[in-house]
Amino acid sequence: MNKKAASVIMITFEILVVLLVVYMTVSIGKAYGESDQVTKINAAEELRMMIDTLVAVPGDAIVSYPQEVSKFSFILTRGSISVFKKGEEENVWIVTTFFLPENYDAQGTVLEANYVCLEKLNKKIILKKCMEVADNKVPPQLGSPDDTGIYTYDAGVLATPLYYRYQDKSWEWSPDKSYWMSVNTMVVTGGKFDKQKPAQENIKLIRYLQKYNPPIENE
C-alpha cells in the first residue's frame, strides 16, 4: 500500500472516531437532560418536607402540591413516600423516608393525577388526588397576585419564572413584566427574551388560560 492511501485511511478512521465520541457524549447529555429523575427526586423531597410541616400543624389541615404531576404515581406509607412512573421497575423508584410521632399514620396512593394533596385528619396524613380546579377558576399554581395584580409562576430551576396578569377581561403573560403577550401567542415579542418560547410547564398554563379565560373577581 502506498503512503498516500495509508494516510487517507488513517484520516478517515480518525474522523470516524471523533464523530463517534461526539455522538456518545451528546447521547449521554441528552439522556440525562431528558430524564425525569430530578423531577421525581424533587417531588419526593418536597412531599416529605410537606409531611414534616403537617406534623407540626396542630389540628387538621390540607395542602396541595403546586406542581403538575400527571406523569408520576405516588405511594405514601407510614414511613416513606415513593415516586415512580407507571411500568417502571421498583429499583428505579425514588423513595424518601420520614418519621411520624407515635399514634400517627400516613397512607394513600395516587396514580397519574394532575395534582396531589396531603390532608391531615386527626393524626392521619392522607395522600390523595386534589379536587379538579373548576374551569372558571384561576389555577392554584399561580398563587396569589402581588399588589399590582401580577401573578408569578416559577416552573423550576431550569425555567425562567413567568408573570401573568388579567387585563381587559383576558390574560396576558410576560417573562420580564415589561413586554406583555396575549395568551393567544406562545412567543415573546420584545425585550431580552425576544422570539423565545416559554418552558413546557408554562406553555400548559398559557393554553389553560387561553382555553378557559378564568375571570378575576373585582378586576
Binding site: M10, T25, Q37, V38, N42, M49, F99, E102, V157
Partner: protein, 155 residues
C-alpha cells in the same frame, strides 16, 4: 513494507490503543460528572430538613407543646413533657436504622435541661435556635431552645 513503514504502523497501533482507552475513560468520566451535577440539582440543604422536622417540638402537643385540652399554644415547651420518653414518641428513627438520619440534642438555655434522641452520638453538624415559652408550675417563662443537629453517620 520497509522497516520505516512497519515502525510507523506499529506506532499508530499503539497510539490508538492508548487513545481508545483514554477516550473511554473520558466518556465515562463525563457521564459521572453529569450524574453528579444532576444529583446536586435535587439536593435539599440539611438545615432546611432539620428545621422542618424540629417544628414539631414546639407546635405539636404530642411532642412538647403546651396545650389546654384541645387548644395548643404554639412556640411553647411544657416542662412536664420535656423528657426523652416523649422525645422518642415524637421523633423515632428506629425504622431508618437510627444513625442514618437526623438525631437531635435539645437543650433549654436558661435551665440547662437537656434531652437527646436515642441514636445521638455527639457529632453535631449545626445548631438551630428557637425562642420559646417554657411552661413551669408557676407559669410561662421565656427561654431559648437550642437544637444540636447530628446528620447521617456512615453510608
Amino acid at each position: 513494507m520497509n522497516k520505516k513503514a512497519q515502525f510507523a504502523a506499529a506506532r499508530k497501533t499503539i497510539y490508538w490503543m492508548i487513545a481508545g482507552l483514554v477516550i473511554t475513560l473520558v466518556v465515562i468520566g463525563f457521564a459521572m460528572v453529569i450524574a453528579s451535577y444532576r444529583n446536586n440539582l435535587a439536593k435539599v440543604p440539611p438545615e432546611i430538613r432539620a428545621e422542618l422536622i424540629s417544628l414539631r417540638f414546639t407546635s405539636n402537643p404530642d411532642c412538647f407543646a403546651y396545650n389546654i385540652s384541645d387548644k395548643v399554644i404554639l412556640g411553647t415547651i411544657d416542662l412536664v413533657k420535656f423528657n426523652e420518653e416523649t422525645l422518642l414518641k415524637c421523633y423515632s428513627t428506629a425504622s431508618a436504622g437510627g444513625i442514618k438520619t437526623f438525631n437531635f440534642r435539645l437543650k433549654l438555655e436558661s435551665s440547662g435541661e437537656e434531652i437527646t434522641t436515642d441514636k445521638y452520638a455527639n457529632v453535631d453538624k449545626f445548631t438551630i435556635f428557637k425562642e420559646v415559652l417554657v411552661k413551669r408550675q408557676t407559669g410561662l417563662f421565656k427561654d431559648r431552645l437550642i437544637i444540636y443537629v447530628q446528620e447521617k453517620i456512615g453510608t
